[in-house]
Subunit: 399 residues, 4 copies
Amino acid sequence: MRNIKVEQLVQTPVENQEIELVERKGLGHPDSISDGIAEAVSRALCAEYIEKCGAVLHHNTDETQIVAGRSSPAFGGGEVIKPIYTLLVGRATKEFNGVEIPAEAVALSAARDYLRKNIVNLDLDRDIILDCKLGTGSSDLRDVFGREKIPTANDTSFGVGHASFSELERIVYDTEKQLIGDLKGKLPAIGEDIKVMGLRDKDDISLTVCCGMVDKYVDDMDAYVSFKEQMKDYILDIAGKYTDRNINAYVNAADNTADGCGCIFLTVTGTSAEMGDDGSVGRGNRCNGLITPNRPMSMEATSGKNPINHVGKIYNLLSTQMAWDIVEAVPQVDEVYVRLLSQIGKPIDQPMAASIQVIPEDGANFATVQDDAEAVADEWLGNITKVTDLVINGAIDTF
Amino acid sequence: MRNIKVEQLVQTPVENQEIELVERKGLGHPDSISDGIAEAVSRALCAEYIEKCGAVLHHNTDETQIVAGRSSPAFGGGEVIKPIYTLLVGRATKEFNGVEIPAEAVALSAARDYLRKNIVNLDLDRDIILDCKLGTGSSDLRDVFGREKIPTANDTSFGVGHASFSELERIVYDTEKQLIGDLKGKLPAIGEDIKVMGLRDKDDISLTVCCGMVDKYVDDMDAYVSFKEQMKDYILDIAGKYTDRNINAYVNAADNTADGCGCIFLTVTGTSAEMGDDGSVGRGNRCNGLITPNRPMSMEATSGKNPINHVGKIYNLLSTQMAWDIVEAVPQVDEVYVRLLSQIGKPIDQPMAASIQVIPEDGANFATVQDDAEAVADEWLGNITKVTDLVINGAIDTF
Amino acid sequence: MRNIKVEQLVQTPVENQEIELVERKGLGHPDSISDGIAEAVSRALCAEYIEKCGAVLHHNTDETQIVAGRSSPAFGGGEVIKPIYTLLVGRATKEFNGVEIPAEAVALSAARDYLRKNIVNLDLDRDIILDCKLGTGSSDLRDVFGREKIPTANDTSFGVGHASFSELERIVYDTEKQLIGDLKGKLPAIGEDIKVMGLRDKDDISLTVCCGMVDKYVDDMDAYVSFKEQMKDYILDIAGKYTDRNINAYVNAADNTADGCGCIFLTVTGTSAEMGDDGSVGRGNRCNGLITPNRPMSMEATSGKNPINHVGKIYNLLSTQMAWDIVEAVPQVDEVYVRLLSQIGKPIDQPMAASIQVIPEDGANFATVQDDAEAVADEWLGNITKVTDLVINGAIDTF
Amino acid sequence: MRNIKVEQLVQTPVENQEIELVERKGLGHPDSISDGIAEAVSRALCAEYIEKCGAVLHHNTDETQIVAGRSSPAFGGGEVIKPIYTLLVGRATKEFNGVEIPAEAVALSAARDYLRKNIVNLDLDRDIILDCKLGTGSSDLRDVFGREKIPTANDTSFGVGHASFSELERIVYDTEKQLIGDLKGKLPAIGEDIKVMGLRDKDDISLTVCCGMVDKYVDDMDAYVSFKEQMKDYILDIAGKYTDRNINAYVNAADNTADGCGCIFLTVTGTSAEMGDDGSVGRGNRCNGLITPNRPMSMEATSGKNPINHVGKIYNLLSTQMAWDIVEAVPQVDEVYVRLLSQIGKPIDQPMAASIQVIPEDGANFATVQDDAEAVADEWLGNITKVTDLVINGAIDTF
């Protein structure tokens, strides 16, 4: 019997609240780069451990610190003046049953691979310094990580999730995803450092998008202005698919295009980490890809933590999955909020508290909702190591 | 005319929700140490700028990274084996009108001072490495920082605050504060690394407290167990002042006191940063001192940001102040949630949106509440630089 | 009139002394890697300065520090466990007449290029961390570096050179050069970390050669032993061309081939920097490529210093060139020792002392020798900036 | 039977050569600070190992790297703008028979102690960053370090020494020693960064002394000029005790006292490491305290190496001791040069070659000299571990 509480929440659904705020930091935002590297390192370590030792061993690499560089962007192509400094931080098991695991070498290599694939205009030979300080993980955890039974929680902490997305949440999320995944194919000037801030004031949505443009693909101010226009049109198109509300979009609103390229958001590498913006793990998107101050959130960084027993990772991912499944599987549900609290040392499939708050549709039979929601939650907890597998296989995002 | 929206929120007040979670990371938690250093460095820079240049100049030092060390605690006194590594990160103006500002020297000195005062059993000569990478702040910001008029927002971002505290919030907050501020005077074995996790399940409150005990003040396991008992009693006393609900308290619940000092939470320095726990800014308490997944929160790190134009700092502090003032000044208000959204480049006293959500008491006249709340908000925005002064004078906490 | 003193030295020529010691650290020795990187960085900066500013600007990058990694070599191919850490240190002008020079980016890129070309089995993505701390060079030196007239000495220091080489010096020098330049083409297992220690005890020469073999090209112990034999034969061949004395050669003399690959000099990357041997600039070969305790030497690091006014570089290179030219141009000369002393702030073509010590052949007319030697020295000093050009063009070795 | 060769050297004694150069870098020169820290760390580790394990364990800490800061000196007291960065580098045994040794904590603490005592005007809280990267020493060396028998050489390398000192050598050595040890007591403005360059041109000696003056003890230019005068007089006094030759002394010869304090050698901390001068181990004085290009020298850094089996340290110290003892114990000896060459893996009391070159007085009986010198050398080799004791007890200088 698990301690699952399904509670009816009397609350104005977010969609009906007057003011709603939603933010997404794109792949190239310094905080997201930190998240991405941290998670890539953890995945690479998982693979290395499995290959060498047959099981994932203890590690947490959830503390990458990016120290911004300095750059001198210019139409047609400038240069990075002072390289970005990046410190990979965490712990990892470096020896197990006589087998040495090259944790820091694996981490460096994974970080470079990640950057090569995701921040495509960053010159890894001259624009960035990658440093690494991985402490030693406790080898006493071999039982935990042997995975013969359910792991025990590494800490007392909690995860939070909600479903489904509001219109604004969908729009903000998709805007960034498609600008990089689709439009960038046609407009290579679009850098990966995109921040989307969505504000809904009753039925007026405004999307403020900041995007670091890549200078070598921008010949002059006319080109720059034209690219912004194309992005704006594209964004309005995306948003229009999700809503009938009024939409306004602003791209690089702080630009002063009259005053030369020093006053626009032009970059050499596509990320503001090249010029003054530091970054670190866990300060950007939650594991659902968004920052949503109208929703409950957890402060735990999901990226980089080990997917075996770190509840700060597993419970955030699980809460989110659970919430989506409840919304899909249970009729008459408007919104679902899930909070999972662990107790250090207890099996992770037995949370100290599993709180499920449901805003039902008007007229719903809450007793049925309650039973159905609890069943979904119970099944997920019974299969909690599935979250671990999804993470190791790279089938689930963490930011 | 400011864009202030006061909205009635139909919502089960947190006090009446079935499950409530509240967490506080104490002064010596690695994330809090990062916050504390970051803010101490910013305050020291403010003082230096004012002394040398007559005004606070551009800086943001909100990215301290702590890489945990390794230690060998022992009853009666062990030792740190591998020093903690701490990297101070950020940007600061280093030259202004021909005056050089020793930003990194000031930062180092401030960080050491902070540690000396707050983590009292840390040997600064051998237990910690303090490194520093402060980039150059943009000197173009002199107008902004000249303070002759209202500064303009450095970014598009938002702050969030709420009031008043639920019973559980008060208890969690006070527990950590008084353990250090009061009980530690009598029990020097109490280390500064205290984490309080509060769970309320209807009318049952459980407080899970993790506290790194300082080994040199703990002679043996009996003493350790006795200290835990004294802490538990003390905590129950505190909690009893705020609630009539049932209270349970657990101190270092994961201890296995049968298996020697390797299985209890014993430390040399009073912080787990000595042994495996990394830390960074903005991943712990929000600026009200708590982590509250039943409340809206902001992801912005408040500590270390400049108090002049960084809305990620000012709007979080201001939202919180505003919420408390509304609760105090406006009758018939149960809960207040404030969200302030800036637009980059616009004066910070003119937020793009100021959303105030109120859960009124039953039968309240919402129109009156609305007017009164708006007045409070408007007055705070009209005096926004007061937040700056409070920060510079050290009169306001950031974590 | 320059202060050139040609003095007759009454001395047993080195070739006739009973005991002679000569050492050469090859390209892949950690100290030589430091030298090589330091010089590569300086050359890259020279090129950058010339391209952007029309002249070489102030810099000194003569302090690369290598912190050894840890590795796990194995027949057929092992791996680096802990990456080598390399810190590029020095100063460089980063701004000149409004032009920004990306000194650290140039340095990183040059260091990587150097390693890619010279330590061919080092995986730059995972086996090494390249960090960089270049301070700011004094921009007041623009007159010095403008090169319209003879630069003034940056310091009071001296350079030392001698000619010609003894038999042992030639042998030691050539052994390392040809093992890498020639034999490695056929035996890829030869790593770049070769140290040759030559001892001549009257007419018995012993060459002790340490060479880190590259594990992926060594299938087993038999192959290893066979490679050592081939190297020994090759070395005896080389040496035989220069001397009629008895020669013994020892390759990896400390190997214990009976005890498995942990007791032989096997490496993953070809350099012992992967496993325990740190390195820094200026602690290996003098600028003639050798360490010769039977000869006068200077302690100045030649590599990485700027070639414009750093006498610690220029005077060492010049002394050596001068000595060789005297030996070639002046008849009846057995050995020549040159010492050049600068005085800070004085033109570098006017040394405070230029001491030339000559051991003439028996029966030589020393007055003639004196005049001729002085003429050679005077001409070199009159064309001292030729040394600068040779360095910039990469036409002269520094270690 | 040891391989000791005593050879008569036919050579103009240095005292009779026309040109002689001698240099000493004082305690506060960046290279000497590196040497001093490296040796202090090694001594502290020796003490720690002896206390915890009963014997000195494997370590080498001979690679401290100093990256210069930036400062703004001013009459009456300026400040350090950018802290000096210092990286302690090396290897050390961190675990032995289950005992953990806090090598990095010991190193940090020893380095701070050393700086506190020797660079007295450096503010350790704000003027310097001390970082540390000590790799793991091989624990297989326990036999070597158990000291039950004669240790075996860690490498094939050599040490070099000579005796006695020429007039110029004595003068240069004593000048620095007494300026700090005596005159600084009366003139606190004298900083520890003193470089003495001695040139003897036949019977004319010139001493060029560079000394970083400490600004807070220098009120104005008049005071500065006066202090230089007092130093000059003091230096001439010292030199006069050792020679009848003509002496000239120059203190801070490059000063331009007409142009303000930017053109004189004024410092905040007493060392030029505060402003542009990097430093590293082994690039300054040889273990006799001098740099002597008229004498044979070794390139091996003596400071920081372990005193048990690192021949690069032991043989340099031993050669020097041997040379002095021969000069003292054997009549009719003018100059002695000692070179000791080890072979890796062989007992250190059995060098591969021990070359003793003697310039006897005119008319000496060389056969007697030969026997006596060999006896001295043989006795020292028979008691070679006495060198180790002298180092551990701090009874012998290394730079």
